[in-house]
């Protein structure tokens, strides 16, 4: 990275407090594809001059896949350790790069003692656009391109965030087309509920293939996503149909960074 991304530990040592904590998530930290999204979220935060920090090696899995696989023990062990850390740093506001982390911290941590204002990065970006801090200066890149947006379940149905991602896309001079199964009727990419970490049960086809088939039927240039798990599933699906040269799967953070000349 061309600028320094500070950790909470460093900030505290320097006697500073961030405006917002960037909860990167495991996919965003380790998965090569998702790391690009993480970097673009950081670039956006840096670009608008928002003082932010990450937890660095102190961050640990929220426990989402463990909970949804049925391991409530492991989930609560993770949750309580994370909450202890977040409370020790007196964190007030968190932006996450992953809808699963977003949902867990927002909805499941409060009862266990973790109360924070939690937003997903698409909501942050939409807010920055509304405040005029982000402008689609490099918008020509998207001009006339057909973009379809895949609703991540844990952003859409799980938390009712349907509009923020779409408003980001509407800023561009692109052609936003909707799949038939969108918003409340959105079809899962197939990775939720710990499916990301296992082979699917036997059936007629894989869920991500079904989803990408639907997306490709619109002949889009770009499939927009807002979740690192969806990113993996959709990219795999596009490769399955050998369309990776014609159709890009991009996160909304990547699209925003590109439109603002940050990447």
């Amino acid at each position: 990275m061309e600028f320094k991304v500070p950790t909470m530990a460093q900030m505290i040592a320097d006697g500073e407090t961030p405006e917002i904590l960037f909860w990167v998530g495991c996919a965003g930290s380790f998965d090569e594809r998702a790391q690009k999204i993480t970097k673009d979220i950081s670039k956006i935060l840096h670009h608008v001059g928002l003082k932010f920090a990450i937890l660095g090696t102190e961050e640990s899995c929220t426990g989402d896949p463990a909970k949804r696989a049925g391991n409530e023990f492991l989930f609560q062990m993770q949750a309580m350790a994370n909450i202890e850390l977040l409370n020790a740093y007196d964190i007030k506001k968190i932006v996450t790069g992953c809808p699963h982390c977003f949902n867990t911290i927002k909805n499941e941590y409060p009862e266990l003692g973790g109360n924070y204002e939690v937003i997903h990065h698409t909501q942050l970006i939409q807010g920055l656009i509304d405040e005029g801090k982000l402008k689609a200066s490099n918008g020509e890149f998207f001009k006339g391109k057909k973009i379809t947006y895949h609703d991540p379940c844990y952003l859409g149905r799980a938390n009712g965030v349907y509009e923020a991602p779409r408003e980001i896309l509407q800023q561009l001079d692109a052609d936003l087309v909707e799949m038939k199964r969108c918003k409340t009727n959105g079809l899962c990419c197939g990775a939720g509920g710990a499916q990301m970490f296992k082979e699917p049960e036997k059936g007629d086809k894989d869920i991500n293939i079904e989803r990408v088939e639907e997306a490709l039927s619109l002949s889009p240039n770009i499939i927009a996503a807002g979740c690192p798990f969806c990113m993996t599933m959709l990219s795999d699906g596009v490769k399955h149909f050998e369309k990776e040269n014609e159709v890009q799967v991009l996160d909304l953070a990547e699209i925003t960074a590109k439109a603002n000349g940050l990447s």
Binding site: Q76, C153, R157, A158, L187, K198, P200, E201
Partner: protein
């Protein structure tokens, strides 16, 4: 008046009324007992919001509107059912007192308006039933098929529609005969009511008073006995939703859909592990973690299972089901209901401590079904009355993982990675911030 409607018939009516109401109350109280076999759950909060949900979702049918055609047809049945049943009050009084159209003299022209409305509604009910029957049996909509849609659920749906057709036909034929008798100034048949629909049936009825009286009386008795019988069919049928949709929507989740409940029993153990001085919050002894059998589920899960009308919107939206996996959220609801009903029957036959060697898990719901769920909430979103198959799936998974350690191998790897590295993949946590370099 007493000649045609002797005391014996009034007495017979009273006996039938008491028998029908009594049997219905007995069966409903059994279902209530079955539901309360589930675990405790405190849902006494936010009463205002809950009442709003009941009014909006159950009474106002707000979520039905997502599918406009079934919504309109269902609305005909629903409004027809509720409003035509107003006339039941009159029928019951007439039956008990031996009167005929007892409300007519006191209501005047309002009575004519009401009877005319009932006729139009009866017509709409008939129409809706015919369309529904053809959707199920001629067009064979995919939503009404599936592994769980065996002979009984299919017949059940058809029985309901056929019974409603018979009841409405009897109602209209009765009115047609009545109108003709009124016109012929036959004694007892006071001039009352307006018959815009049944007027079309008058021509096919005979003209002599004796036959008309026989038809009118037969239809009257058929209609009311049919209603008594139907009332007692409902507790065995998916049609129970006409009652249970109300408590189910009242007690429905008020949280964001993405929230899965935190188990207090686990919090106690985890907190005690982290802090030996911790004094646990008193909870009901969980017995086991998660659910193996229907009685391990909470009472709301069981209430949901009885409220389900097997419409299949959940299953038709389920990504696992759409791609040919075994999972069907409707089957989860039906299995839960069938199992808790079986447990209830065992209690009736063998006493409350009887245990058979079956359970909801494995005998009803297979592990393969459970592991196919992506927790995407398409099912809970699609349900017109906010039932929650997902929470049943999660409870069964909790039992598999926490009691039997029976997750699939790859899920076990994911869990041990979290335990050792704090991430579901096999990465060292020290590398977590390497992307910043």
């Amino acid at each position: 008046m007493q000649i045609r409607c002797p005391m014996i018939l009034q007495f017979l009516f009273l006996v039938l009324l008491i028998a029908a109401a009594g049997l219905f109350a007995k069966n409903i109280s059994k279902i209530r007992r079955n539901i309360l076999l589930g675990r405790d759950l405190d849902l006494s909060d936010q009463k205002g919001l809950r009442w709003m949900n009941l009014l909006k979702i159950a009474l106002g049918q707000s979520k039905m509107a997502a599918k406009p055609i079934p919504f309109l047809l269902h609305l005909c049945l629903y409004v027809g059912f509720v409003i035509i049943n107003i006339e039941l009050i009159e029928i019951v009084i007439d039956g008990l007192a031996g009167t005929h159209r007892v409300f007519a003299p006191m209501m005047g022209s309002l009575y004519n308006f009401l009877i005319a409305s009932f006729e139009w509604l009866a017509f709409l009910v008939l129409l809706a039933c015919v369309v529904f029957l053809s959707r199920r049996n001629l067009i064979k909509l995919k939503r009404f098929t599936g592994t769980e849609m065996t002979k009984w659920p299919k017949s059940d749906a058809n029985y309901i529609l056929v019974i409603e057709i018979l009841l409405m036909t009897a109602f209209l034929t009765m009115n047609a005969a009545d109108a003709k008798l009124q016109f012929a100034n036959v004694e007892h048949y006071i001039k009352a009511g307006s018959f815009p629909v049944s007027a079309f049936l008058q021509n096919i009825l005979p003209n002599d008073a004796a036959s008309l009286i026989a038809i009118e009386r037969t239809c009257w008795w058929f209609h009311i006995i049919g209603i008594f019988a139907f009332l007692n069919y409902v507790p065995y049928s998916k049609h129970l939703h006409i009652l249970f949709a109300f408590p189910a929507s009242y007690y429905g989740s008020l949280h964001a859909k993405g929230k899965i409940n935190n188990m207090q029993s686990v919090s106690n153990e985890v907190k005690a592990m982290l802090d030996p001085t911790f004094v646990p919050v008193q909870t009901e002894s969980p017995g086991r973690f998660g659910a193996k059998d229907a009685t391990d589920l909470n009472w709301k899960n069981l209430l949901d299972s009885y409220a389900c009308t097997e419409c299949g919107r959940c299953t038709s939206m389920c990504p696992a089901n759409q791609t040919g996996k075994l999972l069907s959220p409707r089957k989860i609801m039906m299995d839960t209901r069938d199992r808790i009903t079986e447990i209830g029957k065992n209690i009736d036959l063998h006493g409350k401590d009887f245990k058979d060697d079956k359970s909801l898990l494995d005998q009803y719901v297979s592990r393969e079904e459970l592991w196919a769920c992506t927790t995407c909430n398409a099912c809970t979103e699609a349900c017109p009355i906010n039932l929650d198959p997902l929470s049943i799936i999660i409870e069964l998974r909790r039992y598999l993982v926490m009691e039997e350690s029976a997750a699939t191998a790859s899920l076990n790897t994911m869990q041990s990675n979290i335990e050792t590295n704090g991430t579901p993949w096999k990465f060292a946590n020290s590398e977590r911030a390497n992307w910043t370099n």
